[in-house]
């Protein structure tokens, strides 16, 4: 009789792997404690571990970039009226400066600002501390350097030559790296969340940190290798995806700040999530919006027009949701600077999306295509995001540094300066676009050479008042921003001490296992 097969069972593969994993983990932990930590401890400023320090870095960087970017925008606006202004230096010529300004606004201001938002908001809504405060701070420092080098390269004429994707490829790679670092930090924090239910801002943040590197990375690195219309198709996809990422970060931030600042719950999470999915679904399709009636395939233009109309759905979702949130308490807008800016910024975003949808129709493009009209769209969208960002800073900056906001009155002044300034720019550029479009049509109808160089001065002269108005509007926004910066500085220097808001309530240290009694 053969012996019963009941001897030692071989260990299961799962258990072996688990043991191996634990061993590796312990080894990594040992290396970390013995080698890396002592080195890191020498650079407490560069590699802070205190909660919210990464967010603080990003907030300060974004504010500084904001001043730089708006001053550049003002110089550009002046250049359009006085062509000789500062044009003796090659690095300050209009074309190079225009690329640099757009890059500062997109990457220096909005991206950095919303990174600050994510680093601060994600721990607060997940109930977990940020996955790595050090990596977060390093991300921000790296990002600032990358943008600064990129701006210098653009000013030296090293451009990729594609509108919206001007940065040369080394900068693209570094920016992609920054985006992946941010994505890693956000996703890892969300994965460890204590609050199991995903809060609304997290939906938008996750969509943005995943979508942006994919679209920007692919489009930027691939677009230069395509020719002609194919390149336009690839670049359009990248620009739409990048813009959509920024808008998602902005809307997510608004969904965090508004209820916190006013103390009112969000009207409907369901509406917010409906808005999220409709936005995520539609944005990859709108890439060809800026080439309607152009040489590209017509069906792609139709798709882009259709989906830009679709984008009214998420805009209305946000609008209805915030309206519902505020419905019985509009008075809180006047007491809370943050809420005021969030609502104002959202209004600009919604207006911008209507402007975009209306302006992309073929019949409208016949008039306003290639005119100053899209400057109006972009100003409304970017301005709305900028206002949401300022709302975030008004809400979080005092809570992070533990000083009460110096003056809510100044904030109100800034709000009206910004709103009036932005509205002036949007309206003047839209009107100038319509005027330019109809002048071109009139030129064709009367068979005069308005659309060519000899007759172009008719258009130049007709839209010059709009460009002058635009300088005025831009100046108001800049003054508002300087008030904002002064307000922040005063907050740091003489604000009353308040309690620092910790993102996550400190948990008691667990007793180490096997510790002596």
């Amino acid at each position: 009789m053969p012996p019963k097969k009941q001897a030692v069972r071989p260990p299961k593969l799962k258990d072996v792997m688990r043991a191996r994993q634990a061993e590796m983990k312990a080894r990594v932990e040992r290396i970390r404690n013995n080698l890396i930590e002592p080195i890191l401890a020498r650079f407490p400023g560069m590699l802070p571990t205190k909660p919210d320090s990464a967010a603080k870095y990003a907030m300060v960087s974004s504010t500084i970039w904001f001043v730089v970017g708006l001053l550049l925008a003002l110089v550009l606006a002046i250049k359009l009226v006085v062509p000789g202004f500062l044009s003796q230096f090659s690095f300050l010529s209009y074309g190079r400066l225009a690329a640099a300004e757009a890059a500062v606004m997109a990457w220096g201001v909005l991206f950095t600002g919303f990174v600050a938002a994510m680093f601060a908001v994600v721990p607060r809504v997940t109930g977990t501390k940020l996955w790595s405060e050090r990596i977060g701070a390093q991300t921000v420092i790296l990002h600032d350097q990358v943008v600064a080098v990129g701006i210098v390269m653009l000013l030296l004429g090293r451009t990729q030559g594609i509108s919206g994707l001007e940065f040369p490829w080394p900068i693209d790679l570094l920016l992609l790296n920054v985006m992946l670092m941010v994505a890693q930090n956000v996703i890892a924090t969300v994965a460890r969340r204590a609050e199991k239910r995903l809060a609304v801002p997290l939906w938008y943040y996750l969509g943005a940190v995943v979508g942006m590197p994919l679209t920007y990375g692919f489009g930027n690195l691939a677009a230069p290798y395509f020719y002609g219309v194919d390149q336009q198709i690839v670049a359009g996809f990248a620009v739409a995806g990048t813009g959509a990422g920024l808008v998602m970060m902005g809307v997510g931030t608004a969904y965090y700040v508004l209820p916190r600042a006013t103390g009112l719950p969000i009207y409907s999470d369901r509406l917010a999530i409906m808005g999220f999915w409709s936005f995520v679904f539609a944005t990859p399709w709108v890439g060809q919006l800026w080439s309607v009636l152009g040489p590209g395939p017509d069906y792609l233009e139709t798709v882009a027009i259709t989906f830009s109309g679709w984008l009214i759905i998420p805009a209305l979702c946000v609008f209805a949701n915030f309206w519902g949130t505020m419905r019985d308490a509009w008075g809180k807008l006047f007491s809370e600077p943050a809420a005021r800016f969030i609502i104002g910024g959202t209004a600009f975003l919604v207006f911008g999306s209507l402007h975009l949808a209306f302006g992309s129709l073929r019949s409208v493009q016949n008039v306003v295509g290639f005119t100053t009209w899209p400057i109006g769209t972009e100003t409304a969208l970017a301005g709305g995001l900028g206002m949401i960002l300022i709302g975030l800073v008004y809400h979080l900056f005092p809570r992070i540094i533990g000083r009460a906001l110096f003056s809510a009155k100044w904030a109100a002044k800034q709000f009206w300066l910004t709103v009036v300034g932005l509205a002036t720019v949007v309206v003047s550029m839209s009107v100038a676009g319509v005027v330019q479009g109809y002048l071109q049509i009139a030129g064709v109808q009367t068979e005069q050479t308005i659309t060519t160089g000899e007759g172009w001065h008719v258009i130049s002269l007709a839209i010059k008042p709009a460009f002058i108005l635009r300088i005025g509007g831009g100046a108001l926004v800049v003054i508002g921003l300087l008030v904002f910066v002064r307000n922040l500085i005063n907050t740091v220097v003489n604000g009353e001490d308040i309690e620092i808001e910790v993102p996550v309530a400190a948990e008691p240290e667990p007793e180490p296992v096997g510790a002596p009694a």
Partner: protein, 170 residues
């Protein structure tokens, strides 16, 4: 039972995996339809029509300058299929015109006139050099900035590039 629960379960109850996966799925769908199919399909090649432009070495140097100075920030190089563009050339620009152009320099805004047929309108290279050096001296109301920091050689290269931008058939 499971079905009922998923129907009743809240829309907001999804985890991060669903959000990330859904976003990627939407992106891939959009990518396939609006990027992959058009750039790999035959339709664009069939509709291409026009012949691409040929440039010599000097014109290529001028093209590089056109990119370096971001001329495309204010000038387009395409005649749209629109009424307002109908005096610019006999027919709208077709995709084939850009087949050997990377970047394509089609542009997005006209703060100055369209340049796709500028070589037909003005064929004097010296005029271009004078105009680029100080536009308002040539055309009083011009809103174009002067490019007097460029050397004469660079301006000549730019001029030879602009002279190549013609639309005449044949």
């Amino acid at each position: 039972m499971i079905r009922r629960r998923s129907l009743r379960g809240e829309l907001g109850a999804a985890g991060p995996g669903a959000v990330i996966g859904g976003t990627i799925a939407c992106l891939v769908l959009g990518f396939v339809v609006t990027v992959l199919l058009p750039i790999t399909g035959e339709s664009t090649a069939a509709e291409a029509g026009a012949e691409p432009r040929e440039y010599d070495a000097q014109a290529l140097a001028g093209r590089a300058l056109y990119i370096r100075e971001s001329c495309f920030a204010c000038h387009t190089q395409t005649v749209r299929d629109a009424f307002s563009d109908s005096l610019l050339s006999a027919a709208p620009s077709e995709a084939g015109l850009y087949d050997n152009e990377a970047p394509n320099l089609i542009g997005v805004i006209r703060l100055g006139p369209d340049l796709s047929c500028v070589g037909d309108r003005q064929d004097d290279p010296d005029w271009y050099v004078r105009h680029l050096r100080d536009p308002s001296a040539v055309r009083a109301e011009s809103a174009m900035p002067p490019f007097d920091y460029l050397s004469t050689q660079e301006l000549r290269a730019l001029a030879s590039y602009l002279l190549r931008l013609t639309c005449e058939v044949g």
